[in-house]
């Protein structure tokens, strides 16, 4: 599992998130601590509203914590401003979302190339074509998202997530919007590419079967980490 030679790519320590409501402060996450080794796959599970997506958004630097530390591949995420976090994401992070989140005015190929272009890379086309081939869409590269099925759109999103060879991939319910056949296809693609690229996978899901495919499981309930299957977690305490 987490070999000793592996380094901690994600370190989370005493992470809390509260939001202000009319009734006062509402805790969303309380005192979460864990580490993830490079190349591991971790499923984050929990009931609706437990705080899974909030944890994902904090880990990916899409939102800021109220308290605690997040070290992402050596960078202290909690100390960075929005611009620096965006730059960090461009270099090290890939995403797959439940609702695909493709840019409607760009073709499949252009959507895959988008992260590379945002990062200033000029030579992304071949890599994008390769990735699209890997996800079985080399015949659909000039199609727009509205011309693709849900399964195909998610495959484009997966190809996009792996361009630029990110160190960490965040996936939020990647198969929830798809039928079981397409869901299975997407899941296997995700794990296959993850393995090929040696990417660390953080996967938020309701699906116990999907969670079971990951090396570790973090269970969140009412904003608290109630269960982990990793010895690493125990180390952090």
């Amino acid at each position: 599992m987490s070999a000793l030679s592996q380094v901690n790519i994600i370190q989370v320590n005493g992470l809390s998130k509260t939001v202000n409501t009319l009734e006062g402060e509402l805790p969303i996450l309380s005192d979460i601590s864990f580490n993830v080794k490079s190349g591991d796959s971790v499923a984050v599970v929990g009931t609706s509203g437990s705080g899974k997506s909030t944890l994902l958004s904090l880990l990916a630097g899409l939102d800021q914590s109220t308290q605690g530390e997040i070290i992402l591949d050596g960078d202290a995420l909690h100390t960075l401003d929005e611009e620096a976090r965006a730059a960090l994401r461009a270099q090290k992070v890939g995403f797959v979302f439940q609702s695909f989140m493709l840019v409607q005015s760009l073709t499949a190929l252009e959507n895959v190339m988008l992260p590379a272009e945002l990062a200033g890379s000029a030579n992304a086309k071949q890599q994008a074509l390769d990735l699209l081939e890997k996800v079985g869409l080399s015949h659909r590269i000039e199609h727009y998202p509205s011309q693709l099925s849900g399964g195909e759109q998610q495959r484009v999103a997966i190809a996009r997530a792996f361009i630029g060879t990110p160190k960490i991939l965040f996936a939020d319910e990647p198969s929830a919007n798809l039928d079981s056949k397409n869901g299975k296809l997407i899941e296997s693609l995700l794990f296959e590419l993850n393995e090929q690229h040696g990417t660390t996978l953080i996967l938020v899901t309701h699906d116990e079967a999907l969670a079971a495919k990951c090396q570790y499981v973090l269970q969140i309930e009412a904003g608290k980490l109630v269960k982990d299957t990793s010895e690493v977690l125990a180390d952090v305490g």
Binding site: S105, L106, E117, A119
Partner: protein, 833 residues
């Protein structure tokens, strides 16, 4: 790198039609302003050129003293054409007959604008010439031939000289419209003035210098002249004169101005709506780009480049279409007016481009700033950023921008303020109304599966979005109703002043003894005659016992009517009446009671000129006799009507002992002219002033101006309709998700289409009703304050407003939704992205 991505996104968005609405809105703003400005400019120039004929020049300098030759020399040096006129009254002698006549001595350049109409003999055809009589010759108006019993070729004595009667003077372009001046007109060459020896020190002579040329040259000359103008000199153009022409021209100009202003407001609304819609549709891509590592700076650059490109492209499109449209319009108008329109200047282009750019920047900046602020977290929380706060500062800045644009365009603070404030009031009212409508509907029972229930539920659910839509719909409807009603009122008012059976001649100088005989004669010959007014000439000598002559003669106001000014320094025509004339409105005090004694009613401008107030006592001098009258009422006089009007009317007792003459207006049809000439020959002391050609000139100008106004209105209505279309289109975007859900759940297309139809019907009707109410209030104010029309309410638009608003918006919404509904459910789902 960002530029490549930005360009790719721009062209893709453009091809997908995402930018079409915002582009169309900006182009609409530009083409509206360009078309209106150019058409207005060209028509304005043409009308000004045409109307300059009414004073035979572009500008006139008038005085009761000889005017310096140095003025003319300076004018020549500034590329202006000039002419000189000298007016005096004198006796004419011929065939043992004598007659008092008004002589106008003209220099060879006269007229600078317009033309003279003459006849070789009394029974000959009318000819058009561009020069007055040569030295040694005179031209007489028809009535002088009758009065002196002479014919063309006869000799006449004028002062110390003899002249040959060369032509019959039919029409001068600048014939004075003053029924108290003589209709017996004589045209003389100014070189002959000296030999008549009529003009001596102390003679009552009036002088005019006429100027014509480019407006910029005239303005430069006036800048030089202005400091030298003395109290007894007056500078004016055709629009400064109190005449029906000046009045209609000023009103027409105000209307065209208003139309342009409303076009700007409509365009601003369209841009605001479409920019907001476009930016909202970019929330997801921006959130995604931020998530994937796009920096805020890069996103800012991408979308600012989009804005610049949209702006440049749409301004170009707007200019091209606007130019083409105005060219078509100008050609059509020129053909209808039987005239050519002069080319427009550079100003409309500058106004149009700056309006497009300012509108585009100001109305997209807030949605763009919101877009830049979209958090990347939106990729996980889909509704994040949907409820961004409305910035009061931005609202205030947008309002200020509209205000400044309107002010810059109109150069008229008053009208800008009226329109702007009424629009703000409308928006405020609409917020209140929308709360009532959207809140009140909750009490209604909702039954699923019923289109009306669905429509009401939909309206309630989107209370905020619907409030905005209601305001936009109402704004467009208000502006259109406002213009249509104003145009109708204005043209109706012109037509009521000059109906087809308007008087075309005045009878002046009828004695008390002649009155019954003339009345009988007119009745017998079936000549229409209005009431007879008694008149007597008198002078205001003192106010509250203090002499005023000197004080009054020093008054200087460039805008005041020339005839009125000279009238006050000398004798005025006084009358006495028991009832206030119909074309007069009492604005202060009360009209004479039956038992009134020693009272006077004064016209408002005279009140100001004499610096008097209600209750002051005026001392009048008639011949050697003087009497007092107390001011008990102040009147507003409609000078545009072709009826005798008076600065001062006295209570009947005051002038009971003075001999008066009577005046009246008559309508003489072509077949009655011989009978009318017979009347004049029988009573040679009675003067007849033929204003037939004058009335025709006014009617022709008014019909041309009406045509121009109708055209401009059509353009604004088109713009308003396009604004409504863009609003409906924008609002449909917001409804798409709901439509998809309903469709997916199996709702029939008919149910959805009907629900949309009813929803838009309710929204459009509510907007139309409120728009009608607010338009009516704004109309009331604008008519009184700007157009000098009687303010009145128009209850019919309270019904038309909701009917038109509801129908138009509903039909538009229905057709747009029907087009969407043609897609299958899968297609609809995918189009949501």
């Amino acid at each position: 790198m960002w530029a490549k991505l930005a360009l790719k996104l721009f062209f893709r968005e453009f091809r997908r039609g995402e930018l079409t609405v915002i582009c169309a809105a900006i182009a609409l703003a530009v083409l509206t302003v360009l078309t209106l400005s150019m058409v207005t400019d060209r028509i304005g120039q043409s009308i000004a050129q045409k109307s300059s004929a009414f004073i035979a020049a572009d500008r006139v300098l008038a005085s009761s003293h000889a005017l310096p030759q140095s003025y003319l020399e300076k004018a020549h040096s500034q590329n202006l054409k000039t002419a000189q006129l000298t007016y005096f009254d004198t006796m004419l002698f011929a065939n043992d007959e004598m007659q008092l006549s008004s002589v106008k001595a003209v220099s060879p350049e006269y007229p600078l604008k317009g033309e003279l109409k003459i006849k070789a003999r009394l029974d000959a055809q009318v000819e058009i010439v561009n020069q007055g009589p040569s030295a040694g010759n005179v031209w007489f108006s028809e009535s002088v031939f009758y009065a002196l019993n002479v014919k063309v070729g006869d000799t006449v004595e004028l002062g110390a000289a003899q002249f040959t009667i060369e032509k019959v003077l039919v029409e001068e372009p600048d014939a004075p419209f003053n029924i108290f001046s003589s209709s017996r007109r004589v045209l003389l060459n100014s070189a002959d003035i000296e030999k008549t020896q009529v003009v001596q020190p102390g003679s009552r002579v009036f002088y005019r210098q006429l100027y014509a040329g480019e407006e910029s040259d005239i303005n430069a000359f006036y800048a030089w002249l202005k400091p030298q103008i003395k109290e007894n000199q007056q500078w004016y153009g055709v629009k400064d004169r109190q005449s029906p022409i000046a009045n209609s021209l000023n009103r027409a100009e105000s209307f065209l101005l208003l139309a342009g202003l409303l076009g700007i407001i409509l365009a601003a609304v369209a841009i605001a709506v479409s920019a907001k819609r476009y930016c909202e549709r970019q929330y997801d891509p921006v959130a995604m780009m931020k998530t994937l590592g796009g920096s805020r700076d890069m996103i800012r650059k991408i979308y600012l480049l989009h804005l610049s490109m949209v702006c440049a492209l749409s301004v170009l499109i707007g200019l091209l279409i606007g130019f083409g449209l105005q060219d078509i319009a100008a050609n059509y108008l020129a053909k209808s007016m039987n005239n050519t329109l002069p080319a427009a200047g550079i100003k409309p282009w500058i106004t149009a481009i700056s309006t497009g750019v300012i509108c585009a920047v100001m109305f997209s900046i807030k949605p763009l700033l919101d877009l830049f602020d979209i958090p990347p977290l939106r990729v996980l929380r889909r509704n994040l950023g949907d409820r961004l706060l409305v910035s009061k500062v931005h609202l205030a800045m947008s309002a200020m921008t509209v205000f400044l644009l309107m002010w810059l365009f109109s150069n008229n603070l008053k009208i800008t303020a009226i329109l702007f404030v009424s629009t703000l009031v409308l928006i405020g009212l609409l917020f209140l109304v929308s709360r009532v409508i959207f809140g009140g509907g909750r009490k209604l029972g909702l039954r699923p599966g019923n289109s009306w229930s669905l429509a009401i539920a939909s309206i309630q659910k989107r209370a905020n979005a619907n409030s905005v839509q209601l305001i936009s719909f109402a704004l467009a409807i208000k502006l259109l109703l406002f213009l249509v009603v104003l145009k109708n009122d204005m043209i109706a008012d012109w037509q009521s002043q000059l109906p087809n059976d308007a008087p075309n001649a005045f009878l002046v100088n009828i004695t008390e003894s002649e009155l019954p005989v003339i009345t009988d004669y007119l009745a017998q010959k079936k000549i229409q005659v209005s009431e007879f007014y008694p008149t007597i000439r008198g002078r205001v000598n003192a106010v509250n016992g203090e002499l005023v002559a000197r004080e009054v003669s020093l008054q200087d106001n460039e805008k005041k009517d020339e005839e009125a000014r000279s009238g006050i320094g000398r004798e005025l025509n006084l009358t006495w009446l028991t009832q206030s004339p119909a074309q007069n409105e009492i604005i202060d005090g009360e009209w004479f009671s039956e038992s009134a004694t020693g009272e006077a009613s004064i016209e408002e401008s005279m009140l100001a000129r004499l610096d008097v107030k209600l209750g002051d006592t005026l001392t009048f001098l008639i011949g050697a006799q003087s009497f007092d009258a107390k001011i008990t009422s102040v009147r507003k006089v409609n000078w545009a009507t072709l009826k005798p009007n008076f600065f001062i009317i006295l209570s009947p007792d005051v002038l009971a002992d003075f001999p008066a003459t009577y005046i009246s207006s008559v309508r003489i049809e072509t077949d009655q002219k011989r009978d009318f000439s017979e009347l004049l020959r029988t009573y040679p002391t009675v003067n007849a002033i033929d204003v037939d050609s004058f009335v025709k000139q006014i009617q022709s100008t008014i019909s041309q101006v009406s045509l121009a106004i109708g055209f401009v209105l059509a353009i604004v209505v088109l713009c308003g309709a396009l604004v409504l279309i863009s609003q409906v289109q924008a609002s449909l975007g917001e409804r798409m998700q709901e439509i998809v859900i309903l469709r997916t759940l199996g709702a029939k297309g008919r149910l959805i289409k009907n629900a949309t139809l009813y929803e838009f019907l309710l929204l459009g009707s509510a907007a139309g009703f409120v728009a009608a109410l607010v338009s009516d209030v704004a109309l009331f104010i604008v008519q009184r304050e700007m157009f000098d029309l009687a303010g009145k309410l128009h209850p019919h638009i309270w019904i038309i407003g909701p009917l038109v608003g509801g129908t138009f918006v509903a039909v538009l919404g229905y057709f747009m939704i029907a087009r969407t509904m043609r897609k299958n459910t899968q297609g609809l789902l995918r189009s949501l992205g």
